[in-house]
Symmetry: C3
Subunit: 210 residues, 3 copies
């Protein structure tokens, strides 16, 4: 079970999440009909934003991509490919939503894991997971003047919180890195997928009639 390099799993999952978020950013750029440099900028900022905020808050500077230019290259390539391939998609908005959902579940886990490995207390590690997962999408939407994912979409913050907390609980339960990661991904992504497909929402606060 533990034969696979643990650090490596989180590492590869992180690269996967970065790529997926970069594509979601580029798809948003497509919806706004930007030029190719707009795709590259929004794709890169969306892909790297969540992890960058996490590193800044934890004081892990220079932030990770300064040491790993590969991650920047990955975002740039993903954005350029999206620029040329997006027209082949039947629905760019649908693709964006699902890319965002995969990135959300992925980063809620990697953010929590990295915060724990840097010595954060459990509550803080969960906060870092939630912020890593949501910040890329927030900044993408702010830069594109889109209504924020936070306020409009189904179980968005909830998914990030569920992914981060279940990873923490599974880790504390001692099930091992791989099962904790897969389990938390299943819970986080499953919840968001169900919310997208079935339109699940938490009850919204209702302003009392006055």
């Amino acid at each position: 079970m533990e034969l696979i390099d643990l650090g490596s799993i989180i590492h590869w999952l992180g690269l996967f999440g970065i790529t997926v978020f970069a594509v979601s950013g580029a798809l948003e750029a497509a919806r706004k009909e930007m030029d190719i440099l707009g795709f590259m900028l929004i794709g890169t900022v969306t892909g790297l934003g969540g992890g960058t905020l996490r590193d800044l808050l934890l004081g892990a500077v220079p932030v990770y991509w300064v040491q790993q230019p590969l991650t920047v290259t990955l975002c740039l390539v993903a954005a350029v490919l999206t620029y040329f391939l997006a027209p082949l998609l039947a629905s760019r908005y649908r693709a964006l939503i699902w890319m965002d959902a995969i990135g959300l579940a992925t980063f809620s886990i990697t953010g929590t894991s990295i915060a724990l490995s840097l010595g954060s207390p459990p509550l803080i590690a969960v906060c870092m997971g939630v912020m890593s997962a949501t910040f890329g999408g927030i900044i993408r939407d702010v830069l594109c003047s889109e209504s924020l994912v936070l306020t409009s979409r189904e179980l968005y913050v909830t998914t990030a919180a569920a992914g981060a907390s279940s990873y923490l609980v599974l880790q504390l339960a001692g099930v091992g890195e791989i099962i904790a990661t897969l389990g938390a991904f299943a819970i986080g992504f499953g919840l968001r997928a169900a919310a997208i497909v079935f339109g699940l929402k938490l009850p919204r606060y209702k302003r009392p009639v006055t």
Copy 2:
């Protein structure tokens, strides 16, 4: 006069400001009819945002709440309580404005004090006070797509600048921590309260007719 622990006064004032800003964030979430996790996110970001920016700029990382998870808990509890108690308020908008005013005066002082204690020059300490005081509200308004407090409300930046500067001047005058804090709070909060009640504004720049 100096029997009370000085560090402690700024510490408690800081916790008070965090709570008040968290409530203001949650009240904004109520106005936008978010779900309970939206309340928790906006409340926490508003409560902790100003101090987080200050710590990042000064290089005091990891930022304070990573070491003091209590402050995060405080924001989460304040947001949840607001979710359930807000319907009892006659006017959530009025409550938000006053909570924001108290937080603004409080953070202009604590931000300046902490920057001074970390060795910042006076001008920089005042800037940190102004940013600590205004940034939580700015990010709350950006996340909620609200028109910014900065541009629309009465004497907003002015209040932060008055609170921060008067704290600095009183400290330099050697009146002691307690009097400096109370005096600066009276000036900052009094100015904002007068502006809210009487609609005071600085003259706006008028575009010349061309």
Copy 3:
């Protein structure tokens, strides 16, 4: 050729860029008819924002203006002067666009140069140049609820990328600091100026008709 202090050229160019961006921020405040403290806040944030993000990401904290309060003073003075002198301008919007263009070309060079001097790999240094150059304008536009420079203006990100890359290439070619700086400024500013005057744009992504 090399008699002039090299560090000094980037230093003075940096101060110049800060001032120009501060004026562009203050001109935006004029368009929004803010009060004088609004001018000071938007001017300062626009002038210092790009370099602040660069320092945060590279871990060069406290950020530069904490050590150099002169830069803050420069922004405040530029904002106050703009408040009083802006009515004399025939077109504040035109002035803003050109100030922004000069700042953009300047910061793409100084951002790249400083990142290189702190040991960043070439790709990262170019990213820092692009971000230093664009972030001040982005935050100005977010705070003023203006449609983002990124998405609407001609060759904006392209200019920043061209300035940063040509500075890097000229430096690697060993032409010396002064020629690299002047050459890159000519390319970056020339490109943006041409784009403004002739309305040049990269082709925008076209959503396929479905």
